[in-house]
């Protein structure tokens, strides 16, 4: 992976009749990287992607792709491809015609067109389906046609808007790996929109977490997980998400802060030796471990993981302990304090 900037967003803003879409989006995306735009529904992920694609024009800011200012360029002049959430396949055209549509439009010679088609179908495992209409394919196959259409032209930048959200959970895991491998093998730059933090964390080199049209944090999955910028990031990333404790509920942290702790850093200890006494409010068997949810005044999302099957009756009282070194401290506005 090279590290030179390939796509640059600088102070991008987009509003509709004064209603906020996104604001202050500044982002450097290196060539050959996999960047995930992550956030809850309505936070502006799709808007950011569409601005990048040229399907919307920004009200403010500048967009550079491969060093060229494309802020107001037409979508077709930006040399990129896109996979839509709905796949946007042409329903009356066969798989082959769908995949070759762009090549035909760009007047690629027939021989070359067929070669590229063959290669794209080979990569996406669709050989033998050339003649089918999208309506005669399963959801997973349609998704692969959309992928084939995106890679066939060999564009260096590929945008994907929740490409897996219409697949069932099992297929999603498989395709996730396929997309990641595809991106590596072809060496293309992918900007990938998702609301699923597992997806973002497992696929991306860089995760951009957004909320209400603003970027909350940009960093590697590792970064977001272990050094969340604020309480929103802390609660959004990780399964289970980080537990937040009001500093008044703990000793030695003042009274206007929030303290975060992850489930794996909490231990259940014998009565009398712990730092907090909590009530069990749920226990959920996950397979390799059991997740035990805990209740305590001034906390949210507090839970602990126990190995194997170790369900605990609801209402039981337990004591927990944790090291100060594993705590994340946020100020009264929710911003991370140094450390």
């Amino acid at each position: 992976m090279t590290t030179s900037t390939f796509v640059k967003l600088d102070g991008i803003a987009k509003r509709w009749n004064g209603q906020l879409g996104v604001e202050g989006i500044t982002l450097d995306i290196p060539e050959g990287s996999f960047t995930a735009l992550l956030g809850p529904s309505g936070c502006g992920k799709s808007t950011t992607l569409r601005l990048l694609a040229g399907l919307e024009l920004p009200d403010e800011g500048q967009i550079l792709i491969d060093g060229k200012d494309v802020t107001t360029s037409a979508a077709s002049d930006r040399n990129l491809s896109m996979v839509f959430q709905s796949y946007a396949l042409f329903p009356h055209l066969s798989v082959a015609e769908n995949v070759m549509f762009g090549l035909k439009v760009r007047r690629v010679p027939k021989q070359e067109r067929l070669e590229k088609l063959h290669r794209a179908l080979e990569i996406t495992g669709l050989l033998g389906y050339e003649g089918r209409k999208p309506g005669e394919l399963s959801g997973g196959q349609r998704q692969r046609v959309a992928l084939a259409r995106a890679i066939v032209a060999g564009q260096r930048l590929c945008l994907m808007d929740e490409p897996l959200s219409n697949l069932d959970a099992k297929l999603r895991n498989a395709v996730r790996k396929d997309i990641k491998k595809l991106q590596r093998d072809l060496g293309i730059t992918v900007v990938y929109v998702t609301h699923d933090q597992t997806e973002a964390m497992s696929m991306a080199d860089t995760v951009v977490l957004m909320k209400d049209g603003h970027i909350q944090q940009v960093g590697s999955p590792e970064d977001l997980y272990s050094r969340p910028n604020n309480t929103f990031v802390a609660e959004f990333v990780g399964a289970p998400p980080m537990a937040l404790i009001e500093s008044t509920a703990l000793e030695g942290f003042g009274d206007d802060k929030t303290v975060g702790i992850r489930a794996e850093n909490i231990q259940i200890v014998p009565a009398g030796t712990g730092r907090m006494r909590c009530k069990v409010n749920e226990s959920e068997f996950l397979g390799a471990e059991t997740l035990i949810g805990l209740d305590h005044d001034g906390t949210s999302g507090l839970c602990v993981l126990q190995p194997g099957l170790s369900l605990m009756p609801e209402g039981d009282e337990v004591e927990i302990n944790f090291d100060d070194g594993n705590l994340h401290v946020f100020d009264d506005a929710g911003k991370r304090l140094a450390g």
Binding site: A53, L55, F84, A88, P91, V105
Partner: protein, 297 residues
């Protein structure tokens, strides 16, 4: 268990027939029976005081084929269909593509185009009478501004049929546009965006994506336009009465004249049978051949 299945099947059959019966009764009384009665009538001679009705086989048909007026009317109707169908459909499609785009006052444009459709044909004809009237009519008034001589659009054989054709196009285009508009709304916006990213021009997108997806609608409209080109004759009564010298006479008007002006029911019946046969053949082609080649969503 088999008696149970039998009972269930019989119950289903009765249920099916019950659901079918209203349509069956109505169609039999008002479509199948009259059609067969018409076919029957067309095979008998016209009764006069001296000669009673008798079976004549296809004589009524051969008489018609020997009648020059019949051939003139057929020619008129072919011309009428040949012009009104493609032109009104073309205008409807163009207007729909335009009104579906991002234009201002879209609602107003749609309503304006749809207005001719809600007018009864008789009212529309009266409106156009006001345009066409020599001397007083709007067309002549405009013409006179440019120093053109007065033209009796409806009163001369060369222009009468064209005047009728224009009224029909004006009436039908807005109606067909509504169908096209409805179909255009079902095409997802992303298809346009996907085509945009691939670099397709507006024209390529329209030709390769929109038009094929509109094909079912086009077919539906074409059949309707065809039927209308046979059955829409209200305006003839107001505008030309088929004249002058049969120049604007259409088949159905001629059938009506035969039956109710000349009281020649067998000839009218024979002509009706021919119209039904032609329309039935076209419908069969539509449902068997064209439907298979069209992409339905």
């Amino acid at each position: 268990m088999s008696t149970h299945a039998n009972l269930e099947r019989r119950r289903q059959a009765i249920y099916g027939w019950l659901l079918l019966s209203p349509a069956l009764v109505l169609l039999s009384a008002f479509a199948f029976y009259p059609s067969i009665a018409t076919l029957w009538t067309s095979l008998f001679s016209r009764g006069t005081r001296r000669r009673p009705v008798e079976y004549v086989g296809f004589e009524n048909y051969s008489d018609l084929f020997a009648d020059p007026t019949f051939w003139l009317v057929v020619k008129n109707n072919l011309m009428y269909a040949g012009v009104t169908i493609p032109v009104s459909m073309g205008i409807a499609l163009a207007m729909a593509l335009w009104a579906n785009g991002k234009i201002r006052a879209r609602g107003f444009v749609r309503t304006a185009y749809f207005t001719p459709t809600v007018l009864p044909m008789i009212a529309a004809a009266n409106l156009w009478l006001f345009f066409y009237t020599p001397g007083l009519g709007v067309l002549d008034q405009i013409g006179s501004v440019f120093g053109l001589p007065s033209v009796n659009w409806l009163g001369q054989p060369e222009t009468a049929l064209w005047a009728i054709i224009i009224v029909t196009i004006w009436k039908e285009a807005g109606f067909f546009m509504i169908f096209y508009l409805a179909a255009l709304q079902t095409i997802p916006e992303e298809l346009k965006e996907a085509a945009d990213i691939e670099g397709a021009s507006r024209w390529t997108y329209t030709r390769r994506i929109v038009l094929p997806l509109l094909m079912p609608t086009t077919l539906f409209i074409a059949v309707n336009a065809l039927i209308n080109s046979v059955k829409l004759i209200d305006h003839l009564f107001i505008l030309t009465k088929g004249g002058p010298s049969d120049a604007s006479k259409l088949l159905l008007y001629y059938i009506w004249e035969m039956a109710f002006a000349f009281f020649d029911a067998p000839s009218a019946a024979a002509m009706t049978v021919m119209v039904i046969v032609v329309l039935a053949i076209i419908a069969a082609i539509k449902f068997s051949y064209l439907d298979k080649r069209t992409h339905y969503q």
